[in-house]
């Protein structure tokens, strides 16, 4: 990493994010051992089947049990290079832990996320203190790969390439890498410092990062395809979507991801002094995230307005129940019709009950749209195919697009899923690229956890 980049990586402490407590702190050794020892070490374990990144979970937990922390971390990273952030960001209740056999047995599932966090963070501490890398570097090969956007998909893809001696170069239009991992994760789950330190670790395996460079503006796509052996698109999604209702351009109307980014990254940003009542429009996890964040920032009244009912909302049950503990209310069957403004500032929201048709007014001084993000304006349209919703079409197993040199992953192909999905896409693409060049990966995907360094 360049000194300039290192300088950029220093985040100010006067960010709202810094005040949030961690909801799932790092296990102590004894906590980890007690939890690991509960694991039955299932065969063909349902947790692994439920993991989008296919991490061999029972194996890494077994390795924690035996004190083989480096081995546990290697098992995790060999399937998911974003193992640090996903250990905290993953909705384990919906994925691995939600498939734990203990749930069939009226017992609480294994706390897989926190065990993963323990394994990877401990292993990285050991890596630092011993100077011995988990993944030693390999002889350089001739291939170069350009990756667009420095979010989880590109970072995962670039890491697996770098481990095989390929030269990956990530182009990021913003000043800092990380994508939503840096700007979009609820601060009680994962903070920006941790995101940057994970990226720092990944970059050290031989990834080149160019920030402030926008493909299509600063570099022509055609030259990119010509100059590089492969191109990976991990550019994610665009700006927050807004409902087209009167008042949407008023002051204190926000897009959810934009506001989360301010809370996480903007120096001296403050909310609680100026606001008393927030309305969030949406029903997904981003809506719940921002609602909980605002409640935790002492905004007195935080209401999520959802057009349908809780049982069909996209947000996870554990997330909404977590938000409710902080005082967030979910109001069902509400369709907003107008944001009321006073002197240009939000003063309320008029809505309609979608069942009764009744008109309801909500007093509020901020409105946040959490109804999804726009697709990125694509400069690739002449090379790629898209589905009806604007997602790039790729092959399921390889993440290869219609163009043989172009691969894509993450939100740009799925329209907005978890970090772990992006990481899994990045890995698939990297291994498909290696295969296309007849390179037998050191990191054998069949023997998970074994790294033939």
């Amino acid at each position: 990493m360049t000194p300039e980049l290192q300088q950029q990586f220093q985040l100010s402490k006067t960010r709202l994010e810094s005040d949030f407590p961690e909801s799932k702190p790092l296990f102590s050794e004894s906590e980890a051992l007690i939890e690991a020892n509960r694991c039955l070490f299932c065969y063909d374990a349902p947790c692994t089947k439920a993991c989008p990144a296919d991490i061999d979970i029972s194996s890494f937990i077994k390795k924690i049990k035996t004190g083989n922390i480096r081995g546990a971390a290697t098992t995790i990273f060999s399937s998911n290079m974003m193992g640090i952030s996903t250990s905290q960001v993953c909705p384990v209740e919906e994925l691995c832990a939600g498939a734990c056999v203990f749930l069939e047995y009226n017992q609480s599932p294994i706390n897989i996320g926190r065990l993963q966090r323990y394994a990877v963070e401990k292993a990285l501490q050991m890596e630092k203190s011993s100077g011995r890398k988990l993944f030693p570097s390999h002889k350089n090969r001739s291939q170069k790969v350009a990756l667009i956007g420095a979010g989880p998909a590109s970072l995962a893809c670039a890491s697996y390439l770098a481990l095989e001696g390929i030269h990956p170069i990530i182009f990021e239009k913003n000043n800092l890498p990380g994508g939503l991992n840096l700007t979009g994760i609820a601060p009680y789950k994962f903070k920006s410092e941790a995101a940057l330190s994970e990226i720092n670790w990944l970059l050290d395996h031989g990834i080149e990062l160019k920030t402030g460079v926008e493909i299509g503006r600063d570099i022509h796509i055609k030259s990119l395809i010509e100059e590089y052996d492969a191109v990976f698109i991990g550019s994610g999604l665009g700006r927050d979507k807004f409902l087209n209702i009167p008042g949407k351009s008023g002051t204190n109307v926000w897009g959810a991801t934009a506001l989360i980014k301010k809370i996480k990254n903007e120096v001296d940003f403050n909310l609680s002094r100026s606001f008393n009542s927030a309305v969030i429009i949406g029903g997904g996890n981003t809506a719940i995230d921002i609602a909980r964040e605002l409640a935790m920032l002492n905004i007195a009244e935080v209401n999520i307005l959802y057009r349908r009912t809780e049982d069909v909302m996209r947000g996870y049950a554990h997330e909404i129940s977590g938000a409710r503990k902080h005082g967030v209310r979910l109001i069902e069957n509400i369709t907003p019709s107008e944001i009321m403004l006073e002197n240009g500032k939000v003063s309320g929201l008029r809505a309609e009950h979608s069942v009764t048709g009744e008109s309801i007014n909500y007093n509020c001084d901020m409105v946040i749209f959490a109804i999804g993000q726009e697709k990125q304006a694509s400069h690739f349209s002449e090379y790629l195919k898209y589905d009806d919703s604007g997602c790039i079409l790729v092959d399921d197993k390889t993440c290869q697009t219609d163009h043989p040199k172009i691969y894509a992953g993450g939100d740009s192909i799925n329209g907005g899923k978890e970090v772990v999905n992006a990481a899994a896409d990045g890995r698939k693409a990297a291994f498909a690229m290696l295969k296309s060049w007849d390179i037998q990966p050191n990191l054998d995907s069949k023997k998970k956890g074994s790294y033939h360094g």
């Binding site: 039955l40 299932c42 056999v101 069939e104 047995y105």
Partner: protein
């Protein structure tokens, strides 16, 4: 409530639970607290010519996070002055006349034995226990297990003590022998009133992988120690049972070895022990464990309709027969209850890799044996492609099933299943009647 009191070769005790000779019975104050909490007797920490001990002395095996599955010690006999010990024994007996105080002894010469036996009896000992079992330190000086391993010496030393003693004498045996019947019968020949076993097993508990030094560490070194605790119970049970069914041994046994619960104690009693001795479990959790031991054993005896603990003693011994007399026609097979199965597939992998490849996964690919049932009698050398089972979409798809024709009833799957009552072994009715290997030898129809 069942009567728990026992009389072991003349040593009376309100219940069969005694502290074994070791750190929990090191001094009078400890023994009296133990009696107050409920222990029926105590075998005093071995007395002999005073020694010096090292630091540290103990190390343990953890298993799946549980502390002290097995414990290893390199402590010697009492390092406190004999006079101190005798004064305490006297006080304890004066205050607790109805509890059993047995004094463990270990000295070398005939004169020393005479003196220490007399002083013990003068102090009020209800009985003596001759420590011919300690396998570390003391054996290097010609005592402990070095006596227990030499039947002639054992007989001779026992007979000396029998001459000197007016109270019952137990001989404590070492398990560090090829056949426990040899020292057992030697003790009977010497005139012993009872046996106690097992003493600890000679062991190295492990090494510290950071320093490559042995545990328990005495600076950079260590020495072989004596192994005990829950891990040794099966070895002890076998030795107790072997002596209990030996026709030449007709003296009572005090069972020792890994007893931590009333169930452990009940097993020792059923296999022929009259009293049981506990050390490691007390070292782990304190004297208080006896409360559940008394309560649990008493409830168990009530449930079994036994009015006295004496009714349990030896009840399981007749079931211990030679392999050659086992019924070859008895058969059980595994049954999986799909309703309670949680789908961990531990039975599947255990059977596949560790047994006979007869449990299949509902959700393929399944690598278990798919040929005609032959119980492995025909050569199997091809690694066949796993078969993808079709599965009922309504069921939890990871529930395995048993090929009942191929199942040989080994029990492994039953052992690994984490859900009580889910995987059971079901008896298959047998029309052929009982036939043992020895029957076949007699009939000359071996296979």
């Amino acid at each position: 409530m069942a009567d728990l009191s026992i009389n072991m070769c003349g040593i009376k005790s309100p219940n069969p639970f005694w502290l074994a000779s070791g750190p929990p019975a090191n001094c009078g104050e400890q023994v009296m607290r133990a009696f107050d909490i409920g222990w029926g007797g105590a075998v005093w920490k071995t007395l002999g010519t005073p020694v010096v001990n090292v630091s540290s002395r103990l190390a343990a095996v953890k298993y799946s996070g549980n502390a002290i599955m097995g414990l290893n010690n390199i402590e010697l006999i009492t390092d406190r002055p004999l006079e101190t010990n005798f004064k305490e024994i006297y006080e304890v007996k004066k205050r607790y006349p109805n509890h059993a105080v047995v004094v463990s002894l270990m000295v070398e010469t005939k004169d020393e034995w005479k003196e220490i036996v007399n002083r013990s009896i003068d102090a009020g000992a209800d009985g003596l226990e001759l420590n011919f079992g300690c396998p570390h330190g003391m054996c290097e000086r010609g005592m402990g297990s070095s006596v227990g391993q030499e039947p002639k010496v054992l007989t001779e030393l026992t007979s000396w003590v029998m001459d000197f003693s007016s109270v019952p004498v137990l001989v404590k045996l070492t398990p560090n022998v090829g056949d426990i019947l040899v020292p057992g019968e030697a003790a009977v020949q010497g005139g012993a009133d009872g046996l106690s076993l097992i003493n600890t097993i000679k062991s190295i508990i492990g090494i510290d992988l950071d320093t490559l030094s042995l545990k328990p560490s005495v600076g950079k070194n260590s020495t072989n120690g004596g192994y005990c605790g829950p891990a040794v119970k099966p070895i002890a049970l076998h030795m107790v049972a072997a002596l209990a069914r030996d026709k030449n041994i007709n003296i009572p046994i005090s069972g020792i070895g890994g007893i931590s619960t009333w169930q452990d104690a009940a097993e020792f009693l059923a296999l022929g022990s009259t009293s049981v001795q506990v050390c490691t479990a007390v070292m782990h959790n304190g004297y208080r464990i006896v409360e559940d031991m008394i309560d649990g054993l008493s409830n168990y005896l009530d449930d079994m309709g036994m009015k006295s603990v004496n009714n349990l003693i030896g009840k399981a011994v007749p079931g211990f027969i030679d392999w050659g007399d086992l019924d070859l026609n008895y058969k059980v097979i595994a049954k999986i209850d799909a309703d309670t199965c949680i789908g961990c597939q531990l039975c599947y992998i255990a059977c596949l890799d560790g047994a006979h490849q007869c449990i299949h996964t509902n959700q393929g690919p399944c690598s278990a044996y798919h040929g005609k049932s032959d119980h492995g009698m025909n050569p199997r050398v091809d690694i066949k492609q796993p078969i993808l089972h079709s599965h009922d979409s309504n069921a939890i798809t990871s529930i395995p099933f048993v090929d009942e024709d191929e199942c040989i009833g080994c029990n492994l799957c039953h052992l690994v299943c984490p859900v009580p009552g889910c995987l059971t072994m079901k008896e298959i009715p047998n029309a052929a009647g009982k036939e043992s290997w020895n029957d076949r030898i007699a009939k000359k129809t071996l296979l």
